[in-house]
Amino acid sequence: MNLLIRAAAIAALLHITPVVVLVKRPDAVQALLPGADAYVAREVHLSGTDAHRLHEAVDWSPEDGVLVFYGGTAGSASVGALEFVRVDTPHGPIEVAVGFTPQGAVRGVVVTKATVEMKPWVLEAVAAGLTDHYRGLKPGGAAPAGAAGIASRAGNLALYVAGEVDKGVARALAAYGAFYNHVRA
């Protein structure tokens, strides 16, 4: 019976809680593509070779082998692009929106989804200034280091989730650098 109760407790601890929306997608789009009045979705269906290349670079394959970038324009001027990247963790998935300026630097990062369990960790990490540490990063440049940036101001679980956000930003940078402007529509 003792073994049964312990097993039940372990299973309950491992149970993944549902995903909740932290920031609605339209709000993330407005924050990351400010001033845009027209949008375009650019779906990049990766070949096996390109998918393998991306996987080698950041240990990740996009869902269904398709990268989706959203470009924004204000009039005829580009405002930039953004990606929604999912990161699967042992505690369930999180979704990170990464916005880029027309020059290809990270404009901002918004954590849009997390599980109920991880939500307080995400909020703590964001309150500690996590997303400030990604601004200005460029593909091929320095690796995202948000977790290290808030190490002195956040608890262990917030640092853990910050590491997962780092992964999401790294994936977005690799995908944007390799496939946003280098494949013809």
Partner: protein, 181 residues
């Protein structure tokens, strides 16, 4: 019969009642969660588990770009909660042990109901078969055909029905029936 819930000590009856009430509560919220994330129709379950993988199972020979205009309303549109293969592996890994433990706990209750052996065996088989059907349906929906979503629905309903049968019989046996003679 060595173990009969009707003759059991009141502490055991109370424990079983507490277990059944707690599982009932978790099943109610489980149903609410299914309604929120997967739905109760074959179409919505198929959309959750089959996803786009069914429409494009093989990568193209060369990378292809498809561009389409978007409006802000498109970003705000209802998102279909999808479970891809990696997430389904994770879900199976964490859910199946818990379902097994729940089936085992309810099976122990069934053993104390003094049912005819055949009926007890059928009920225990149903308790374990329901989660198997549930996850078999999810995997078949993903890997074979969206039509198998009906198997997941059947598994989910079977779990609920099996729980209700066990709970009703147990409450009747423990608290409402009186020993004859």
């Amino acid at each position: 019969m060595l173990y009969d819930l009707r003759r059991a000590d009141v502490r055991i009856k109370w424990l079983v009642t507490g277990l059944l009430a707690t599982l009932g509560l978790s099943y109610l919220f489980g149903a609410a969660m299914v309604a929120l994330y997967a739905g109760f129709t074959p179409q919505s379950v198929a959309a959750t588990y089959a996803g786009a993988e069914m429409s494009m199972p093989m990568p193209p020979e060369t990378t292809v770009v498809v561009q389409r205009p978007m409006s802000m309303a498109d970003f705000a549109g209802p998102e279909v909660h999808t479970v891809d293969t990696k997430l389904l592996i994770q879900d199976t890994h964490v859910h199946v042990p818990m379902y097994g433990l729940i089936a085992a706990a309810l099976g122990v209750v069934v053993a104390g109901l003094s049912l005819p052996r055949g009926r007890a065996l059928c009920l225990i088989a149903l308790l374990f078969a329901a989660p198997w059907l549930d996850f078999a349906g999810m995997w078949l929906t993903k890997l074979a055909s969206p039509r198998f979503a009906i198997v997941t629905l059947a598994g989910g309903w079977a779990m609920g029905v099996a729980y209700l049968i066990v709970a009703a019989l147990a409450v009747h046996r423990m608290w409402l029936s009186h020993e004859r003679g």
